[in-house]
Amino acid sequence: MSLNQSFSRRFFLKTTSFTAALAFIPKGVRSIYEEVKRFIVPSKDVIPLMVSINKKEYSIKADTRTTLLDLLREDLQLTGTKKGCDHGQCGACTVHIDGERALSCLTLAAMIPGKEITTIEGLSEGDKLHPMQEAFLECDGFQCGYCTPGQIMSAVSCVKEGHTGSVAEIKEFMSGNLCRCGAYNGIVESIQKVAK
């Protein structure tokens, strides 16, 4: 597949300069060129979406390639949800979709209409922190803070799912959320505190 693609790209590049040089080429050839161009360089599709994030309805237009993560960060300025890898390998982008933890970098914006999205910004109610946020503060469950929103969203689910029977169980069910500072002590203690 990739070989074919690169072949056709090369082919197209060569014909591009060729056709550009011949400004007087017949209309028919030019329309074929436009067809080929559309095939190789697809135009972007922007679609209207109605989405619900943190109990707020947004009527937006989004590129069909836009992930939920980039929608939150780049378009809606909800930057509490973090990008750590963009490949579903680190958990920094964890949000809740219909109440369950999910990776927003592996979710396209186009997939979320009809679903309720909760981000870290929607976790606390007004000025009152969620108990898990309080626990992270008390147990110092972070250092740089970058993986923290994802850790907290996962931790809330971890408790809800009932995976808090032991330190080993908490560690297992929190291992999808990487922390390079290594603040795992505090993360586990926070979850134990809330699960009590």
Binding site: Q89, C144, E172, R180, G182, Y184
Partner: protein, 739 residues
């Protein structure tokens, strides 16, 4: 600014970090997260070959993608004055002159920047861009290449190598460590915004805003003060933010070219070749001892990788000179250029690598001598003076670290011979090692702004990469002034604030702590000066005479000589007052040597059938002088141990020797410790102030938590199994091969 202050909206959690609320609510703004008007996006394109020259670009397809604004390559770049020719490039110390050369030094080297209206447009267009190259031969195989580079003597030789040629006990072994990558969770990012022809604003991820300011000012030939660097929240660094990397320069160039604010965020893949790594290394160690286990001499040889376009020296043998009283010592080193990007300092740079070899060799010697690893170390420590400088240590509590750690892990449970503790396929073992780091201090400044109500704001340009610098600054200010923490705001990470050194080498708190005290002293003098107009007691008062409190100042402890802040400021018709202070190292450095130290203890199990290593307990006792904030300090140490476990058991930058590039360069391929890989780390401190290093008595803790970790684990694996592992990372396949 003032981002550290929004905790007042929520109730106050006792002892929480000053930036805690911002972090647990996701409100803290990291560099890529600022909402800048008219922003466009840049995506870097990397070379697909490891060595050669760019012959031509094919940009037509990428240009036709809707939303593409411009594409920068070396053919059309706006020339930066400081990179105008080879001589200037060398002088700039910028390393890779991005877009100022057609030469390719490594695979993934940025060759183009695609600028577009959206991230999606830029990413897609970047995928369509192609270059044609003239390829050249390349070298990426460290093992093969290092043989070609001869060692040369580094540092002063002590005694002579002949003096211990007849040592009754000698260990002579080689140790190797694969390259490791910092991989902070936040990818490096820059938003560059030109405010005027020679005025620049940068939202940038780094560990030293003033250093970025100076570097960029120099290459653009504009005064540093014309560049504002904003780095309020930094999602980890571990050394990767101590230099200005190509993407930052690319963002600045791009923003200038399209005359719009531009954001460049590295992808996780680009983080593997874009912002440094710990170099791959080879070491040979020869250590001799007499029959009582007294070290007679050491020969430490080390080589590590660097890039072909820049020489990076790591200092692997530095730690060898620090810990033990070695009368005969020789160290040699060499760097080995490869077609990979330039490595850089990574947590415990040099020492972490060297310490693995030294502390492993000592363990090997113990089994030869049938001597306890704790005992042999206590016998050989140089507790009175630095063996390198000859100056007395200001403080050295490494022996106490060892004794405390041994008690915590119940060291006497350790079997003196390997392979003695077995249950089915699981072997249990204990290991230990020590680490040490030269405790430094730099020149730093801070400012204190006092309001009528007695609330203060403490400012310094120093960053907080997660170490808790801001919290420590608050704690120091609280201790010195008596003003409650809820009335102390902290502002950091902006180059407009009083200058501070980069946050690296465990120097952060040691430097800035003194500056905070100096600024408060300056404030005291200002207050006393104003107060003396109404109360003669304060005339010509020294800073030491003046006591601050929540509401005002008093003369020494004479409570009846009290003037409130509100009176002082009102009488002077001021709403607030500001004082600045600086502090730095001085004469004490000519009198004393300074170190931070740690002892690491590990209990683990090894499965002989699967090669799995399960760490059951990890204990680290550290001496960082006075502990200014207990929780963040313990977090630093346990986090470093988590990093050390990764270094020892899993982390490796894998290089494809045929293609000349990296493989497995993402977080699925490059493993570092996840939560389930590590036990709850047990941390303790000696917590005795160093009276000479700085006013707060605290020494840096960032590095010692990892220095020694690897040897403690490898030594425990030997104690469990009788298999000596000298090649990091110790992955299950290596253990299985050993059985």
């Amino acid at each position: 600014m003032g981002f550290f202050d929004d905790k007042s909206e929520f109730f106050n959690v006792a002892d929480a970090r000053v930036d805690g609320i911002a972090k647990v609510t996701g409100r803290g703004k990291y560099s890529a997260e600022y909402d800048v008007e008219n922003l466009c996006y840049g995506v870097l394109v990397g070379s697909t070959i490891p060595a050669g020259k760019i012959e031509s670009f094919q940009l037509d397809l990428a240009r036709q993608v809707g939303g593409v604004i411009d594409i920068i390559t070396h053919l059309n770049k706006p020339t930066i004055p400081g990179l105008a020719d080879d001589a200037k490039i060398a002088e700039s110390r910028i390393g890779l002159p991005v877009f100022h050369t057609d030469k390719i030094y490594f695979k993934g080297q940025p060759i183009a920047l695609v600028i577009a209206e959206t991230l999606e447009d830029a990413t897609y267009a970047a995928s369509l861009l192609e270059a044609e190259y003239i390829t050249e031969s390349f070298a990426v195989d460290f093992e093969m290449e290092q043989i070609k580079f001869p060692l040369s003597v580094t540092g002063k030789e002590r005694g002579s190598m002949d003096a211990w040629s007849n040592a009754p006990h000698v260990v002579e072994q080689e140790y190797t460590i694969k390259a490791e990558v910092h991989n902070p969770m936040e990818m490096h990012a820059t938003i560059a915004q030109w405010m005027a022809e020679d005025q620049l604003k940068l939202y940038d991820k780094n560990q030293g805003v003033n250093s970025v300011q100076r570097t960029i000012g120099k290459v653009y030939n504009i005064p540093p003060e014309n560049i504002e660097v904003i780095s309020e929240f930094i999602g980890g660094g571990f050394g990767s933010g101590l230099r200005v990397w190509p993407h930052t320069l690319a963002a600045i160039m791009g923003a200038k070219k399209v005359n719009r604010p531009l954001k460049v965020v590295l992808t996780r893949q680009q983080m593997f070749s874009g912002v440094g790594y710990r170099p791959e290394s080879w070491q040979r160690l020869k250590l001799g001892a007499d029959k009582d286990g007294i070290f007679l001499g050491i020969l430490h040889q080390a080589k590590h990788s660097t890039s072909v376009y820049e020489n990076f020296g790591e200092g692997i043998t530095r730690v060898t000179r620090l810990i033990y009283a070695l009368a005969n010592l020789k160290t040699e080193s060499a760097t080995v250029p490869l077609n990979l990007s330039t490595p850089t300092w990574m947590r415990g740079p040099g020492d972490c690598t060297g310490d693995f070899a030294v502390e492993s060799a000592i363990d090997e010697l113990c089994y030869q001598l049938n001597m306890d690893p704790v005992e042999i170390r206590l016998k050989n420590l140089s507790l009175e003076k630095s063996p390198e400088t000859g100056l007395p240590w200001s403080t050295n509590y490494v022996n106490e670290c060892i004794e405390k750690g041994a008690a915590m892990i119940d060291w006497k449970q350790r079997k003196s011979q390997p392979g003695q503790s077995r249950e089915g396929d699981w072997y249990t073992g204990y290991g230990m090692a020590v680490g040490m780091w030269n405790a430094g201090r730099g020149n730093a400044s801070a400012a204190v702004i006092l309001q009528k109500d007695g609330s203060i704001t403490v400012q310094t340009a120093m960053t907080d990469i997660g170490t808790g610098t801001g919290t420590a600054v608050q704690n120091i200010a609280h201790e010195v002034t008596g003003i409650p923490k809820s009335k102390i705001k902290v502002e950091l990470g902006n180059s407009n604030l009083p200058p501070a050194p980069s946050q690296g080498g465990s120097n952060g708190l040691s430097s800035v702590g003194g500056a905070v005290v100096a600024a408060i002293d300056a404030l005291k003098l200002q207050l006393a000066g104003l107060a003396s107009k109404s109360n003669t007691f304060f005339k010509e008062a020294k800073a030491t005479d003046v006591l601050l409190s929540e509401n005002g100042i008093s003369f020494q402890s004479t409570n009846n000589q009290f003037v409130s802040y509100s009176d002082i400021l009102s009488n002077a018709e001021l709403n607030s007052m500001e004082a600045e202070g600086s502090s730095g190292p001085g004469e004490e450095r000519k009198i004393y040597s300074f170190n931070s130290s740690a002892a690491h203890f590990c209990k683990l199990r090894v499965n002989s059938r699967t090669g799995k290593v399960k760490i059951e307990r990890m204990v680290c006792v550290a001496d960082g002088g006075k502990i200014v904030s207990e929780k963040p300090a313990a977090n630093q140490i346990s986090g470093a141990a988590v990093g050390g476990i990764g270094m020892t058991l899993m982390e490796a930058l894998e290089v494809d020797k045929n293609v000349g590039g990296l493989i497995a360069d993402d977080l699925a391929g490059y493993h570092f410790s996840v939560n389930a890989d590590v036990p709850m780390i047990e941390v303790a401190f000696i917590n005795k102030p160093d009276p000479n290093i700085n006013p707060s008595g605290s020494k840096g803790l960032g590095e010692v938590g990892i220095i020694g970790c690897a040897a403690a684990i490898a030594n425990a694996i030997y104690n469990a199994t009788g298999k000596r592992m000298r090649d990091l990372p110790i992955t299950p396949d290596k253990i299985l091969l050993a059985f």
